[in-house]
């Protein structure tokens, strides 16, 4: 067992990662990563391809089982739980390749996400409460999909699909949200709209975002964690990271951050 450098999660921490490690047949995709994300913070995960960012998200959200280390959501340990249990504990996740229910309408997608009760018998009822309906309509408005609410999610454009998934996370309303490259493949205008949505989510949720677009990162980030070859290379504010020589050497190259 790896030594615990952080100890029990501090109160006020939304997400505590402690020595998280995964070993794929000798290859350590994530190697003793530890970090604490404060409640309400927006943390950006930075790193080159293969640095282990997405794998780290897989480990947190239960998609992959860690070889060692622990994960806490608030004060509750979620290491090794099944995905839906972790989700019920208050963690939401957006995938790199947008993942929505393609054969359901946009509105239905949000309604599914808004079903707070996970049980099959508890959900054996027709319709939704006025509060839920209002919430769904608010979200439709926020992500700008009001006019498309009766269309199948499969017919949305790439950007719209990303926004729908963000909307679903809002409807799910977890404490901590992991976003894997929310602006990948987007146009400039779409990126700006996404930034607005993410900013709106801030405050209500604690966010961990994997992102490459530095302009976007500077726009939204509180703190940045830089990963390199599965390890944490540096962690700090945008300015700290920009000034960090190790980061420049390993990741950003001589040119620095544009």
């Amino acid at each position: 067992m790896i030594q615990n450098p952080i100890g029990a999660p501090a109160s006020g921490a939304a997400l505590t990662i402690d020595g998280l490690t995964v070993d794929f047949a000798g290859f350590r995709a994530v190697d003793t990563v530890s970090t604490v994300v404060e409640a309400g913070e927006l943390r950006v995960l930075l790193g080159a391809n293969g640095a282990g960012k997405t794998t780290l998200m897989d480990l947190i959200s239960g998609k992959t089982l860690p070889t060692a280390g622990r994960v806490f959501l608030g004060e509750r340990e979620i290491t090794g739980l099944e995905e839906h249990r972790i989700s019920q504990a208050g963690l939401g996740r957006k995938f790199q390749i947008p993942s929505v229910f393609r054969d359901l309408t946009v509105r239905r997608n949000l309604e599914v996400a808004a079903c707070r009760n996970p049980g099959v018998f508890a959900n054996l009822r027709l319709g939704f409460s006025p509060a839920q309906t209002r919430r769904v309509e608010d979200i439709l408005d926020q992500v700008g999909l009001v006019t498309r609410q009766e269309d199948d999610a499969g017919s949305l454009s790439h950007g719209e699909t990303q926004w729908l998934e963000l909307g679903m996370l809002m409807a799910q309303d977890p404490k901590v949200i992991l976003l894997d490259e929310p602006t990948a493949g987007m146009t400039e205008a779409e990126t700006m709209k996404t930034a607005a949505i993410i900013k709106a989510m801030r405050g209500r949720h604690t966010l961990v975002v994997v992102e490459h677009d530095m302009a976007f990162v500077k726009e939204i980030a509180n703190r940045i964690t830089v990963m390199h070859l599965g390890r944490v290379l540096a962690e700090g504010s945008v300015a700290d990271i920009e000034a960090n020589a190790e980061v420049r050497a390993a990741y950003l190259g001589a040119k620095g951050i544009r």
Binding site: H84, C115, V120, L124
Partner: protein
């Protein structure tokens, strides 16, 4: 009048149910009996739509649940038949048990052959009826808990269900002293409830089937309209997304798998009442696949569509196979129909109907339809 999608959907259900309830005014007892069998098949179509269309689980062993339901009630009716009472024993005993038993065995249900005590509770028809639902649901539950917990999906579920039905059929035939093996259970009594005797050629049996089908259709439709039903469809589209939204995916899948099994078991019971026999051929692979084809032709994503598909195909089959010129070629006709339906009607007849519905709605709104029809459902669960 403004037409709405859901309004037209409801109207279709009402019209269909009115039609099947009015059928006795038109049909003679023979066609009524025949129709009641087809309505039972329609119920199977609905069961497949629930598991395949809504849950994305293609069960190639639906015949197992149908067969279990059929055998459960047939066991009760067998014990109620005149010959079972006339085997020279105080308690009823199926005739075949006597000639399958070892010479000199006591002629009592408790011990005439190994395992014959299992028949004892079936002396009560209520037990048989209950088992007709409970047994399929229990097996579906056990299977679902294992298969869906292991996150097996798509064609692998199909292969497992297919293997299970073949295995069960094998055991059913092998257990001949208990089940009469390949010949199945015949020479059954009539089910009598509150003094009403369900002779398959009397209208009351037809009404039992028709009302049952109406209830099943409405019930299944309501079930998939609930939040759970919605979540189930979400799981069908993307089970990983649903998991990360906090839903216990295997539970949902198992629940609706069981619902589908319960409907199939019930259909099996009704079939026995309409046809007066139960046979291991109900668990033939070809029958299970045929059911799926009915649902595909009718529309796998539509409960009513799959139901009507089953009824229509059987009517056409009967007509074609009783046409002297096509006596030997009717299977060619059916085979061709299957191929064309799958190729050119990926959403089945229900897809055509939905297109018509959307056109009507659009026309009544005075606007052209705003979205193209939903593209063919992507196959989920490719390995």
């Amino acid at each position: 009048m403004r037409l709405t999608k859901s309004g037209l959907n409801t109207a279709t259900y009402v019209a269909f149910i009115a039609l099947i309830l009015a059928a006795p005014l038109v049909f003679d007892p023979f066609w009524l009996n025949r129709l009641s069998k087809y309505l039972v098949f329609g119920m199977l179509g609905a069961a497949i739509a629930v598991s395949w269309g809504y849950a994305g689980i293609l069960n190639l062993g639906q015949g197992l649940f149908f067969g279990l339901g059929a055998y459960a009630i047939a066991m009760s009716l067998k014990l109620a038949s005149a010959t079972s009472l006339a085997q020279g024993s105080d308690t009823p005993i199926p005739d075949f048990m006597l000639w399958n038993a070892e010479p000199g065995a006591p002629t009592e249900l408790c011990c005439i052959t190994k395992g014959s005590f299992l028949w004892i509770p079936f002396q009560s028809p209520w037990f048989g009826i209950a088992m007709g639902i409970v047994a399929p649901v229990a097996i579906a539950f056990g299977l679902g808990m294992v298969v869906f917990r292991k996150r097996i999906s798509g064609v692998f579920v199909s292969i497992i269900t297919l293997s299970v039905v073949l295995l069960m059929r094998l055991l059913l035939v092998q257990a001949q002293p208990l089940t009469n093996g390949f010949n199945g259970l015949t020479d059954l009594g009539y089910l009598t409830v509150l003094g009403l005797e369900f002779d398959p050629y009397m209208p009351q049996t037809y009404y039992l089937v028709a009302i049952s089908l109406a209830l099943v259709l409405v019930g299944a439709r309501l079930l998939v309209e609930t939040r759970s039903g919605l979540i189930l469809q979400a799981i069908r589209d993307d089970d990983r997304r649903a998991r990360f939204l906090g839903f216990d995916v295997p539970r949902y899948q198992t629940f609706f798998f069981c619902a589908s099994a319960a409907i199939s078991g019930y259909a099996g019971m009704l079939y026995v009442m309409a046809s007066e026999f139960a046979s291991p051929t109900f668990m033939d692979l070809s029958f299970s696949i045929t059911m799926v084809v009915w649902a595909a032709v009718g529309g796998r994503n539509s409960i009513l569509g799959a139901c009507i598909g089953a009824i229509l195909i059987n009517m056409i089959e009967a007509t074609v196979s009783e046409t002297p010129a096509l006596m030997e070629a009717w299977r060619v006709v059916i085979g061709l129909a299957f191929v064309f339906a799958v190729l050119f009607l990926p959403r089945g007849l229900a897809g055509l109907a939905a297109g018509l519905r959307d056109w009507l709605v659009a026309r009544s709104e005075g606007a052209r339809p705003h979205a193209a029809p939903i593209p063919a459902a992507e196959e989920r669960g490719r390995a």
